[in-house]
Point group: C2
Chain length 196, copies 2
DNA sequence: CGACGATACGGACCATCGGTCCGCTTGGCA
DNA sequence: TGCCAAGCGGACCGATGGTCCGTATCGTCG
């Protein structure tokens, strides 16, 4: 069961690749961030990148994982309203807004991550499952049927998808503050009241 | 201003390509439908495909256009509840359900269409704009502020995105009837009441 | 400390894909 | 019937994700 021990240089390189890729996404946006570019920026061979992350999707997921770790931590065990304990309505809205924030920073990364189809569909990533579970469980405390909470969670997450967010802020030039306001209003109107 | 007249063989070939591509998507799903494959299946050179449709996105959009023309027609000038005239709530729900139906048939096509990023983002296609306008205008009759209706329309459309639909029906094995029920319930709960 | 096997490196290499180019063919009009 | 613009097709191109394998390095054990 124990992991077979990783060599020191492998660990070091993995970190370097992660850093380089993060920088590339932060700087240029989504385009131009090819695996070749990442390897070069990290000062590492291409094979090294693929050994560390299996494929492009693996790299993107690891990257997103690292970037959103604090947020997940806050949701898992931080103080309300993000952490457990707040009334369901408030917590769901807080989580959605936090997620929106993550997509706004890291636009390039999340665009790349959600673009993939087939086996790499965003819906198949463990990360999506995690967020969906959090929302669903919280919503289940408000709605009668489980199926309802389940679909509602999907719908709410769909409203903060990276490409929609990018479209609204970049193409339509909707100010971020306004976007936040609309998302919040929408979420409030969607989430059923306390009385089920 | 007049279109420069198209040669007969060009028209014929265009149709052949459309048919071949449609068949490919209907049969195999999204994968394997490369431009090369389409050209070959149509019994036509690759250059011909690109002259007729400019690029891959053009082909996909033309394809989707053709497949959904009757639906658009029905929404534009058909009988209620899909056509104009029905109460906003019912019409919006009807349109969403119709859209869901279109994504369920033609899964491969819509998956391919929504996968694209960058300049070919689904949100930049005229088709999306059209559906969004329809929903927004209808919703605007119910909500106070325009911005609210606008975002709500986006959110509702996001709930029937091809990859989400595929995830629910294929991965989660959610029966189509159940999906329809949940979508309808969700839409009803989201759309503000008449007095809104 | 030396040596040996497992692990990792790197970049040449490969297959595939969307898209372009251009010499040849064909349709349509006078 | 002859001319020429419109169209054809498939070889070709550049980029990309992913693989392969000879070589270098790590870490351990005697």
């Amino acid at each position: 069961m124990s992991e077979p021990r990783r060599r020191a240089d492998a660990v070091r390189n993995r970190e370097a690749v992660l850093d380089a890729a993060e920088a590339l996404f932060a700087r240029g946006g989504a385009d131009g961030v090819s695996m070749n570019a990442v390897a070069e920026a990290a000062g590492v061979g291409k094979g090294t990148v693929f050994r560390a992350f299996t494929d492009r999707t693996g790299l993107l997921q690891a990257l997103a994982e690292r970037r959103s770790a604090p947020l997940r931590q806050a949701v898992e065990s931080g103080p309300p309203p993000l952490g457990p304990g707040a009334p369901p309505r408030e917590r769901v809205v807080a989580v959605l807004n936090a997620l929106l924030g993550a997509k706004l920073d890291n636009q390039g990364l999340y665009l790349a991550l959600e673009e993939a189809g087939g086996a790499a569909s965003p819906y198949r990533s463990p990360s999506y499952g995690w967020w969906h579970t959090v929302l669903r469980d919280e919503l289940a405390r408000l709605t009668g049927t489980a199926g309802r909470a389940d679909f509602l969670a999907h719908a709410l997450l769909a409203a903060v998808r990276a490409d929609l967010v990018a479209h609204l802020t970049v193409d339509e030039r909707l100010p971020v503050a306004e976007l936040r306001r609309r998302l919040t209003a929408y979420a409030h109107s969607v989430i059923p009241p306390e009385g089920g």
